[in-house]
Subunit: 363 residues, 2 copies
């Protein structure tokens, strides 16, 4: 089947672009002597996680136990849950998962660590734990100066093995230029590298000092202080990554194929993709709800749930009823989370369909 | 099981509030002598669609053929697809659906009508068609002055039966006060009522003049010009409806139950519900990403995909690790579309779980 024959709206993954993205960021990690542990929340698709492992990833990252369970079901057995597992029901699920896969999890308080310890010890496990450090995002994580104390507390608890420290420099998305991106990565490396040195004597097995994101991925270098990075969006890229100087439009592998379902007047058409296909996320600097692959000057000025309002007044594009277009989303992770499957395309032909098996696994 | 024992994040539907909402808006329709054909895109859940029918709805509205198929599978047989069916694959699916349920569909161009006519006639059907009229939203729809010509064209085509006209006054969400809401409803009624009179001789069966939305639902009255309304969000309400003077917080039936997973410093905690549970939609006038049921002064200032940043600096609420809160979403329809199921609660006890069976049916 040709791409142009696919029923819309449909989530489209360009296989060549995906493969190139996998290779490029694996190269960044290799050149910087870092392990690559990509965040699979972007795609939630076991087939893509396996491609990441084939391209040299040492394991994967997930956000939720439910995502980890799906990936473990698919045979992936080295999983870092970069989130905080709170509540007896979740600790129980985590312990069960740890019995069948190599799992590590984040922690940022002695209270949460104590609950994890109890659940893990009850199952006779030694659960690997990484301490989350806040390097500027002000989300979760301890202050750098408090990390050594928490490391000592964790390492003294039964059922837990301290694996290292991790951070997410998500405030990079507020950076105003590439210098600020590099500066945020440099600060992250210095703080985390120093902490890694301090806690190393408490760590069981190889020390992990984990950081990174897609925008900062090109900024690392050998002996930068980290031992691994966890970029996510790089597999697809999106309009936000274009705005972050992290991707060119030709490196965007994920689009939403959409049909013109109404052409009420010249220069204005309505697409069958709205907020339930494109998500309401705004881009960092660009306006509009995604970017047409066919012409960046065409602007999706507004979304209703199942309608995209496409303004062609600044575009050369002439669209008629039933024409199809491909929209590069503002935020690929949010869009992949709306669809049950993605259509895989190579050279304009459909070559596969992948289930987004971990979609909706919010718990 | 108690609500407080439900694993998070979870979509919660308060059954008493839902039932009260169903009754209230059914009362608006009854008092205004209007048929009620609620838009089920809000909940995508057959159980709720059936409750709407039990509360006097004459049929249901959907946005996509995929939603209609799910509702027909559940035994609902009077369905209006308030969207434009464009493309041979979709016309074929529509024809197949029309063989097993009473289906009507929108049209806003003679080109789309011709394609529908051909597909319908090939199946030996007479498909009921309503002409969409633009009463100010500037989305789909013909200008009011062009509707009679399109009505004549439709009524002359084989395989089609003209059923009436419909509009969606979605620009009501730009209204700045309740007077403007009432004014938009009054204009809608006048324009549509006049058109209904003009096209009535061409209509087969009872004339349908269809309009409405949740914010305008209280504004209609007997002989206002419409014959039916299609509100959607009223089943749940949300923060946008509060902002639109259409609901009070105590009338919001849908929440996201969420756990505090990190409490990095006084006055600031992190929830396990982010954009993948609460959606990125912004409210009309209120700031923040949803409203805490426990305290409106607590503000979710930012969302990442799986994290909500909760600022308690203006709130009396003292939250600790593992505490749970309920968040009234900014946009209920977008949030219900993120979950696979909703937990139904009555008086703080879980009484049922409903599958959101039409979630993800974007085609």
């Amino acid at each position: 089947m040709l791409l142009s024959d696919v029923e819309t709206p449909a989530l489209i993954c360009d296989l060549d672009r995906l493969t190139a993205n996998l290779g490029r960021v694996a190269g960044f990690a290799r050149n910087a002597d870092l392990e690559l542990r990509p965040h699979t929340k972007t795609h939630k698709t076991p087939e893509i996680a396996k491609l990441q492992l084939e391209h040299g990833a040492s394991g994967i990252t997930v956000a939720k136990i439910g995502e980890a369970e799906v990936m473990a079901d698919a045979g992936i057995d080295d999983i870092f849950i970069a989130h905080h597992i709170v509540g007896a029901d979740k600790v129980e699920r985590l312990a069960k998962l740890a019995e069948r896969a190599k799992v590590a999890v984040g922690v940022d308080s002695s209270e949460a660590a104590a609950a994890l310890s109890m659940g893990s010890a009850q199952h006779g496990l030694r659960l690997r734990v990484l301490i989350e450090v806040d390097t500027g995002l002000r989300r979760c994580g301890v202050r750098p100066e408090d990390a050594p104390d928490l490391a000592r507390a964790v390492s003294s608890l039964p059922g837990l093995a301290l694996g290292g420290v991790f951070t997410y420099p998500g405030h990079v998305y507020d950076a105003r230029n590439e210098n600020e991106v590099a500066g945020i990565a440099a600060y992250e490396c210095r703080i985390m590298g120093e902490l890694g040195g301090k806690i190393a004597p408490l760590v069981e097995g190889p020390l992990r000092v984990s950081g990174g994101s897609t925008p900062t991925a090109p900024s690392y270098h050998p002996e930068c202080g980290l031992t691994e990075i966890r970029p996510g969006t790089y597999v697809f890229n999106d309009r936000t990554q274009i705005d972050m100087w992290a991707a060119r439009p030709a490196e965007c592998a994920l689009t939403v194929l959409s049909t013109v379902v109404s052409a009420p007047e010249s220069g204005r058409v309505i697409l069958d993709a709205g907020g339930k296909s494109l998500a309401a996320d705004v881009a960092r600097r660009s306006s509009g709800h995604g970017m047409l692959k066919e012409d960046g000057a065409a602007v999706i000025v507004k979304l209703n749930e199942e309608h995209g309002f496409l303004d062609l007044s600044q575009s050369e594009l002439r669209l008629r009823l039933a024409d199809k277009v491909e929209v590069i989303p503002n935020h690929a992770c949010a869009v992949a989370n709306l669809f049950d499957e993605m259509t895989v395309v190579k050279d304009g032909e459909v070559v596969d369909t992948w289930q987004i098996a971990a979609r909706g696994k919010v718990q």
